[in-house]
Symmetry: D4
Subunit: 219 residues, 8 copies
Amino acid sequence: MDFTFDWSRAARTGLPEAVLCSAKSSTQLAEILAAARARGARLLLTRLEPAAFAALDEPARTGLDYDPLSRTAVLGGEVALSEARIAVVAAGTSDLPVAREAVRTLAFSGQGARLVADVGVAGLWRLMERIEDIRACRVVIAVAGMEGALFSVLGGLVAAPVIAVPTSIGYGVAEGGKAALTSALASCAPGVVAVNIDNGFGAACAALKMLGPAAMGEG
Amino acid sequence: MDFTFDWSRAARTGLPEAVLCSAKSSTQLAEILAAARARGARLLLTRLEPAAFAALDEPARTGLDYDPLSRTAVLGGEVALSEARIAVVAAGTSDLPVAREAVRTLAFSGQGARLVADVGVAGLWRLMERIEDIRACRVVIAVAGMEGALFSVLGGLVAAPVIAVPTSIGYGVAEGGKAALTSALASCAPGVVAVNIDNGFGAACAALKMLGPAAMGEG
Amino acid sequence: MDFTFDWSRAARTGLPEAVLCSAKSSTQLAEILAAARARGARLLLTRLEPAAFAALDEPARTGLDYDPLSRTAVLGGEVALSEARIAVVAAGTSDLPVAREAVRTLAFSGQGARLVADVGVAGLWRLMERIEDIRACRVVIAVAGMEGALFSVLGGLVAAPVIAVPTSIGYGVAEGGKAALTSALASCAPGVVAVNIDNGFGAACAALKMLGPAAMGEG
Amino acid sequence: MDFTFDWSRAARTGLPEAVLCSAKSSTQLAEILAAARARGARLLLTRLEPAAFAALDEPARTGLDYDPLSRTAVLGGEVALSEARIAVVAAGTSDLPVAREAVRTLAFSGQGARLVADVGVAGLWRLMERIEDIRACRVVIAVAGMEGALFSVLGGLVAAPVIAVPTSIGYGVAEGGKAALTSALASCAPGVVAVNIDNGFGAACAALKMLGPAAMGEG
Amino acid sequence: MDFTFDWSRAARTGLPEAVLCSAKSSTQLAEILAAARARGARLLLTRLEPAAFAALDEPARTGLDYDPLSRTAVLGGEVALSEARIAVVAAGTSDLPVAREAVRTLAFSGQGARLVADVGVAGLWRLMERIEDIRACRVVIAVAGMEGALFSVLGGLVAAPVIAVPTSIGYGVAEGGKAALTSALASCAPGVVAVNIDNGFGAACAALKMLGPAAMGEG
Amino acid sequence: MDFTFDWSRAARTGLPEAVLCSAKSSTQLAEILAAARARGARLLLTRLEPAAFAALDEPARTGLDYDPLSRTAVLGGEVALSEARIAVVAAGTSDLPVAREAVRTLAFSGQGARLVADVGVAGLWRLMERIEDIRACRVVIAVAGMEGALFSVLGGLVAAPVIAVPTSIGYGVAEGGKAALTSALASCAPGVVAVNIDNGFGAACAALKMLGPAAMGEG
Amino acid sequence: MDFTFDWSRAARTGLPEAVLCSAKSSTQLAEILAAARARGARLLLTRLEPAAFAALDEPARTGLDYDPLSRTAVLGGEVALSEARIAVVAAGTSDLPVAREAVRTLAFSGQGARLVADVGVAGLWRLMERIEDIRACRVVIAVAGMEGALFSVLGGLVAAPVIAVPTSIGYGVAEGGKAALTSALASCAPGVVAVNIDNGFGAACAALKMLGPAAMGEG
Amino acid sequence: MDFTFDWSRAARTGLPEAVLCSAKSSTQLAEILAAARARGARLLLTRLEPAAFAALDEPARTGLDYDPLSRTAVLGGEVALSEARIAVVAAGTSDLPVAREAVRTLAFSGQGARLVADVGVAGLWRLMERIEDIRACRVVIAVAGMEGALFSVLGGLVAAPVIAVPTSIGYGVAEGGKAALTSALASCAPGVVAVNIDNGFGAACAALKMLGPAAMGEG
């Protein structure tokens, strides 16, 4: 194989070096990891299913910090975390894998995050109990599946930008996450923006960009 | 024309005699009205656009109580209203035509209703200010377009059944009302039920059925 | 894990404490069950696949009443059942799992139900033979896949509210249940309301709300 | 213009010479009519809106038998009708334009038809009152919009083939006729076949083919 | 279990007793087969996957004539076949399972069929070589996936009614059979009718109805 | 206004300078035309509705060669046409506006074209009569709406590349051209390529590119 | 009418007071304007079509600064603009109305903006000529219809967050803006976020939130 | 089995003999291979999954050159390759299987190809480094998933025809390849044509046709 990694991305856009693993073979992943090691580069791997991680051979796996819940792996070790200026708010327990993908992406870039979970709007008091914690952050990442009502409720309660991450949690009309996605885009609360379904990584990248060059330099 | 009206519907199902006017010609509507007058029957007309009402000839229009906002007309006069046991809750000003179609259908059957408007979740305090009024009712009809987050928030706050009426208010992904409809169906708040987009009439019929035979007998 | 269960839901909305299991890990489910046991709370688990039930460890499974057909489990034992005021009507044998999820949810709350099965409209005489049994109930839950014609036929025959539960039974254009769902929403019989595809639990919750506070208090 | 009419179609397939007018200009229609007159051919025009008919010049309109309800026109005069062996069953008043397109197409080919209207399943007794009339026919064309439950109910009641014509009558999820179409295709009653939405002409053509060569020879 | 089979269907509609197996458990299927044997009824089983057939216990399987290609089984033995008056035309090798489901359904009812395979329109000469064989039949069942162009080409070449059976063969925009289905419904050749995707059984039922009562009496 | 026209496009890609007019105001179009005149550039305008053409003021319209059928206008006069090496094949009369947009775009670049119309596959003999004319060309542009079966039939008959242009002609499932588009993409005849619905201009551009630099130099 | 304006929104979320006019009647708009004047509040009106503006009576229109291109009106006069820290980048001339809605919303809140137009990726040199101007901004709003390739190209070139605003410019598969929207959400360039189709207002609100409280305080 | 292979396709259309394996059984494939061997014909097999290849028996597999990445097999050995006149450009590593299907199809017909990989537009410099190599070719096949922005960028940079092959790489709104497909069809760069999702074979066939009879004669 003869691939061309976009090594200048970090310099150009301030974002972490990352590889989407879902449609890549073990051989391809091993080559990418070897190339990163050869350059001494840190690397974030996303959508690396437990079975795919297990299928990597020993040299490829060495030194990878793998988290099965979020299906992410980090090559090159941790960095010190900044104080948390980003809230990651998850509607339900089932949304935690995506929320955690965002948290791990932020940590890869040195950003701490405040995780607020189980605050779905069907029991509004849970969200209200945590709202001041959320308001203290400069960016809010909201993670929700099913009907995604959390996005609008949050959007109306905080001054920070709200990045909606619809998840594929749900069944019937909610299957695949389209219902939550359309709720994010059609939100009656102005200032809510959306990323693709289950895209915790992308939401974290957007949050990093919103914090600005200083924040990204910390990564 | 030689149509067969379902005159026994009221007896069989307890629902009002009603005619959906949108795809019927002036001639067809005039014949239906004449047949109702000949039987001395009261009749509710829905989706009667102002232009279609104006196109009816004088005999057809005589004695019709027409409301352009809800596009409904009543033949046969008003009946006394019961105390309001049904709340009709509308998210925004643009949802009022559909909300009013529900209110007028209930009134046709003798049921008073409590209309609560402009309580969209982007400004949650407005809903919370009115929530006790809503909780006092036995059935709640919730009317909302765009992302329809109101349905889930209400469903989590009240013990009464919540009938969601998605409206076609919105643009882009919300155009036509599909986004609000999927929010109603995918709601994380159990016990929310849905009717078709913009179907204020159907929601009112369902509410009448929920109040039970006594209520319908009052119509 | 550190989740926030909505323990006040029953008090606020009258509905059973329930957990949707489909996207939760064994670990997450075990923690939820332990928390419920610690509070002495009864709990209903839905969409718990046989494999997921089998994957629970012994302490988690102890005392769970599991039903593989409906994929539901009950923690905390049975309660006495009221006389049946709710009919659960299923079009075909394949719709029974969803119908049974509704019956089990009602039973969890102390409500008996009348199950009427195999009354699809292709053989209309079967429904007509049972129609008086159905008419005797105060709420009707109708469960059907494929084209969902049962919803409209029932809606025209009974005075009780009809809650349509479309099922994902079918193939081709009916795959996933969208055909049955649109039939429910577009029904020519006014007063039919719909819940999400395969959502027997939600239909039961709505039925409980329709019976009113007294019924819910019995749960 | 220099078009190539398929004059041999009748000989090859037994179907009437027909022109779909909706996307053709007045000039194009006038040329087609002139060519038919030059050959002494009879011709059926479908989807000829009143405004498009009015826009034809005098020579083009001469001798056209135009029916605004069904938006059809016949060039070349009537033929004697056979006894009715085809039933055209319409669910509601709003479905009559499509039903009438079928009846007019059959008449153009010399086939009488039995029109049965206003027999939607929300008031099932209306259909049952007419069912023997329908059973006496060799082919049934069923015309319905909204949720199209009529197709399955009819399919389970008659031995003749049922050709379902979904109509674009309805709003919300039923808008455009997709809901009725999927009901026809997903019908639990075997032996129901479907044509395109609002395609009364195509249903009549299929019915003619089902009656067989003798019937078509009468056209 | 306590199911209500529609034993009067054959008498009422002339169609074979049949059971759609795809969403039924082994237990349910065994009970249905036992009930049929108890009545001495013949029975056709469709969509019985090889694994589901293998999962039936010995008593349930005894005397079943199972065909894995079409996934059909017959209980009650063969009947003598009439001369073939129905052509079953399949575009490609991959469409044969569905074509064979139609052929087996016809045979169950005593109707012979002429199977014409591998005549996709990309090599039109293959169809033209067989066209006279097809024209000799009174009904044509056309089976095709991908873009389904065969339906229109056949519809323009034969006088018999053409029943289009779209198949789920294809990928990308053709995945699931929607592309072939819309081609059938939108066909420029009048007189083509459609059944659901992969519904060889339904097409055969429609063909039986088209041949009329005499043919069905032979089954 | 201060727009930046891509004047180097012709040099870079060999394609004509063209402006899509549908969403531009009269003022914007007038400024674009003035800029082109100032440079002495030839310009092709597409999707210029008759009303939009009429709304242009006198200076803007001067010297425009406008064709209402194809809704195209040419600024800068005609060029000599090459011998026709491209066939433009239209299924029906209603497809002529799109076919003509392709012919006019080719003519703007100096390429003659052979227009073959009214050869829809429902009457296959019409296409077979013209097939040798089509086979003599180096590129084939096929224009069809409804089910678009023409694309596959042509693709199987000619050695030249076939560029499918689905049109928005049709109703019901064919409305908007999606049915014809999926037929083009799912074609069982390899080597068929597709452009957007109604995009005669794009098909002509692709054909110019296929003829190669020499052809484009003639424009 | 008796509506409840969310007057505390600005304090709570930092966003401008705004009214979406598209589904409101002249009477409703007049009442809203009167209420704002009574409070001395500034107000932004969006989606106010020229015909709707013309339909307002004199008192309602007085003092409104109306811009027909962006269909926005401002009540309460201009405020001084900050230096431009937000770039609004439009792919084509047809995207200018949406781009301008964003610029006007920013101006209402006192934020200057840098408008960069006609930089669609089909002529990449145009974007590259302006890229340094864009890179100098802290937030980028990208406005594009058709296939929306601009979003990914920009996302890969700048360090600032990119808010994608898909527009409804396009036809065929691009009609209504869904193609551009999916391009924004599926972007291979991480850190791109999206708002609803044609939602220039929402993009501006998100940009204001990203600049942070200081910026919003200037509004 | 008794299938009719289209052996004259090569002569008629210049394209390779090929078999789509995905929905065929091992038995069917073995028969097709035996028939080809009996005629001494070369044959290309596409979409032959590794498991399906492994399931072939020894005689069927003998002499097959199988490539698991592209899931293609060649019967009949290699032919000498022409100089590369076709560029196959792949956006990412995950798109290589489809790109390689195209390269292998071209090689089967004797055409060399220039493979350019990892040039997605998020890092535009990678594409610009290779653009002259691509410009040197007479046809460009572009392979991309996710949002497919590569198609438009390439279309604006090269004079050769660009055949877009959308791939099913992506998740959420990009799942299945529809997002990339609509980008190809809606491209703002004229002259881009599209084939079905993942259809590397079809793109290669179209490229062969574009090179013309001479090129195909080399196969």
